[in-house]
């Protein structure tokens, strides 16, 4: 089974879906001959032509709005937003339109579309190429929000997203595009949306994470095990909305201690929802305070690497948080 990078797995998913279903097409800035600014669509334009891989105008609102229209008319668009930081002009179309179509039409009209965007910091991107935006969209009923942490999941989850009859936001941790490698079967498989995964078994505490932070969390868990004998259980959330509450709660019942790691700002970040869920429905199993390790509450990831590194959670920071919670 070939090993490939996160970005390759994403490309392979799109390639296979384009081949499998004539209704699927890709649109976004620079997705055509250039193959995307992260080369997510390299080769697809040559293979499928300008009617399946369409270079859009520089206009996020209508990349999404046109995608919605195409989806309403029976297509399966994959809309790429070049950086999650630039998704905000499309917020109205995503939140007021795509998310609400099914509910407001009493099930008459649905919007089967995928909006993909690279997200997250650690690549010297400053305030406007490093943002995490998952909290805004996970908050909206009617949207699905998916964040893969490894190539296997990325391919399987993206295929599921394309086949889902609802609007799915697919945020890809850009720092991990080439950093994260893994085995990916070449055949047609899917990973179901709405399922979290236990990626490391343990009993001392549970660490919940997604995206790049899950990648670091696994390393931090190994470090804590090797150096301090702490056995952390790690959960990869994968689908932020709708959340796999069962897996999340089962692990907490087992360990009694929860640490949530995300690089997004702390206040009103996704971790707050997990914390609320655990304290509400896992109260009787709680053995320690529910902790969150996150980016600080400042308006963006700074550019200069000393400040950027201060902002971003790291393997060492996660390991320290694991130790501290385990010792409680």
């Amino acid at each position: 089974m070939p090993e490939m990078t996160l970005i390759d797995a994403i490309r392979q998913a799109m390639d296979e879906e384009l081949a499998r279903d004539k209704r699927v097409f890709i649109t976004g800035e620079d997705v055509g001959p250039r193959g995307g600014v992260f080369r997510a669509t390299v080769g697809l334009y040559d293979k499928y032509g300008p009617d399946r891989v369409i270079d859009s105008p520089l206009a996020e609102l209508s990349i999404v709005g046109v995608g919605i229209g195409a989806a309403l008319a029976g297509m399966r668009p994959i809309c790429e937003i070049q950086f999650a930081d630039f998704i905000h002009p499309a917020f109205n179309q995503i939140v007021n339109e795509a998310a609400r179509y099914y509910y407001r039409s009493n099930g008459d009209w649905n919007v089967p579309m995928v909006i993909r965007a690279p997200y997250g910091g650690g690549i010297g991107g400053g305030l406007y190429h490093s943002q995490s935006v998952e909290a805004f969209f996970a908050h909206v009923p009617g949207l699905k929000v998916v964040i893969p942490s490894n190539p296997y999941d990325a391919k399987g989850l993206l295929k599921s997203a394309v086949r889902d009859p609802n609007p799915v936001l697919f945020f890809e941790p850009k720092k991990g595009y080439r950093l994260i490698r893994g085995d990916v079967p070449e055949d047609d498989y899917t990973v179901p949306l709405g399922t979290a995964r236990v990626t490391r078994q343990g009993s001392d505490l549970t660490v919940y994470a997604y995206g790049m932070m899950h990648f670091y969390t696994l390393q931090a868990a190994e470090k804590a095990a090797a150096e301090d004998g702490i056995q952390a259980e790690v959960i990869d959330i994968r689908t932020l909305a709708p959340l796999d509450r069962v897996t999340v709660l089962e692990s907490f019942k087992k360990t009694g201690k929860a640490l949530i790691v995300h690089e997004d700002n702390r206040f009103m970040g996704y971790g707050a929802e997990i914390a609320a869920l655990l304290s509400d429905e896992g109260f009787e199993y709680m053995d320690g305070p529910i902790r969150r390790l996150t980016g600080p509450d400042v308006p963006g990831v700074p550019f200069s690497h000393t400040m950027q590194d201060f902002f971003m959670p790291s393997v060492d920071k996660i390991a320290a948080a694991i130790r501290e919670l385990a010792a409680y």
Binding site: A59, L61, V64, G69, N92, N96, R104
Partner: protein
């Protein structure tokens, strides 16, 4: 600052050859929309319904649109004033009454949306929302799908002139021009966006002046002349179907009533202006035309009026008798399941 408009009071039927049954049907659609609309004002003033947003004065351009496309085949993305359009497409007064009363069985949204938020899978009328102009890029997307599939459908979206100030309008029409999409965008310019006059909305005298900016065709018509409007929309539809791209149509019209049921239009315009435009009422003009052509008689008019009244009375009675939705209906449906 109202745009000064040269509008004919006669009907311009140049180049329009519709048989008399169709002409009478156009009249009927305009009439029943007007009467249904009036009834909803009455219901609001009686305190029976919470909200009504009127399409009075806009009947001509809307009926023209419905007659120029193929209902149930082409894609339509209307806006909140389009009562006449929807009725002419096949929406019924009973359905509308269920919507204004918010009753169970309401067909466009299960009474989850305010009235005048249209939608019908059957008629290919896309479910509408309240943020304006969002339907323009969506219409472009539907037209793109049509083009990618090689079909001869068109997508028609319409909105008010105020909504053309939104970014969505520009981005959607930009796509339409770049990809030569089979799309028609109709702007019903009634000179006021609630209270804001068109002179504060745009610096150009006509919305359609913006068409070249997108590389698409533009056209202006008298929105209170149903046949002139029909000719203009039909040309654009034919152009789109023939693969020659999109058209931005501006229909000049007027809103003789306040924006919605609780608006007070005395605060922003004069009674004289309203009276002046009432003399160009689209229904009255078409009626005069049909009388002149011998297609209508006073007897026939009375029959239509009686028919409209009966239809509306029955619709109202049916809606008033219908139950409200159960409270738990607020909870769904949120997600489509596979197989949809």
């Amino acid at each position: 600052m109202a745009t000064s408009i040269q509008v004919e009071s006669r009907i311009d039927d140049t180049g329009v050859s519709l048989d008399s049954a169709l002409l009478l049907d156009m009249y009927w659609q305009m009439l029943r929309s007007r009467r249904l609309d009036e009834r909803c004002w009455v219901l609001h003033r009686q305190g029976k319904i919470a909200f009504h947003i009127s399409g009075m004065g806009h009947e001509a351009i809307q009926v023209a649109m419905a007659f120029a496309i193929r209902p149930g085949y082409d894609y339509a993305l209307p806006y909140y004033r389009d009562l006449a359009f929807n009725l002419a497409m096949g929406y019924t007064p009973k359905e509308f009454m269920l919507a204004v009363f918010g009753k169970q069985g309401e067909t466009t949204s299960g009474a989850r949306q305010m009235p005048s938020h249209w939608g019908s899978r059957r008629l290919n009328i896309v479910s509408g929302s309240s943020p304006v102009a969002t339907q323009v890029p969506q219409a472009a997307g539907m037209a793109l799908a049509v083009k990618l599939r090689g079909e001869d459908r068109v997508a028609i979206a319409d909105l008010g002139e105020g909504s053309t100030s939104e970014g969505d309008f520009y981005e959607g029409l930009n796509w339409a021009g770049v990809h030569k999409l089979p799309m028609i965008c109709v702007v019903q310019n009634n000179i006021y966006a609630i209270s804001v006059p068109v002179g504060l909305q745009m610096a150009v005298p006509n919305v359609a002046d913006r068409a070249p900016m997108f590389g698409i065709a533009g056209a202006i018509c008298d929105g209170n002349d149903v046949l002139a409007s029909y000719r203009t929309v039909k040309e654009a539809v034919d152009r789109a179907r023939a693969g020659q791209g999109a058209t931005l149509i501006e229909a000049k019209t007027y809103r003789p009533v306040p924006h919605s049921s609780d608006d007070d239009d005395r605060t922003y315009r004069s009674r004289e202006e309203v009276e002046q435009w009432k003399r160009r009422d689209p229904l009255a003009r078409f009626q005069a035309y049909l009388l002149e052509k011998g297609l209508l008689t006073q007897t026939r008019i009375d029959e239509y009026e009686a028919q409209a009244r009966d239809e509306i009375d029955a619709a109202q009675a049916g809606a008033e008798a219908a139950p409200y939705p159960p409270p738990e209906a607020a909870l769904g449906p949120v997600f489509a399941s596979d197989g949809v």
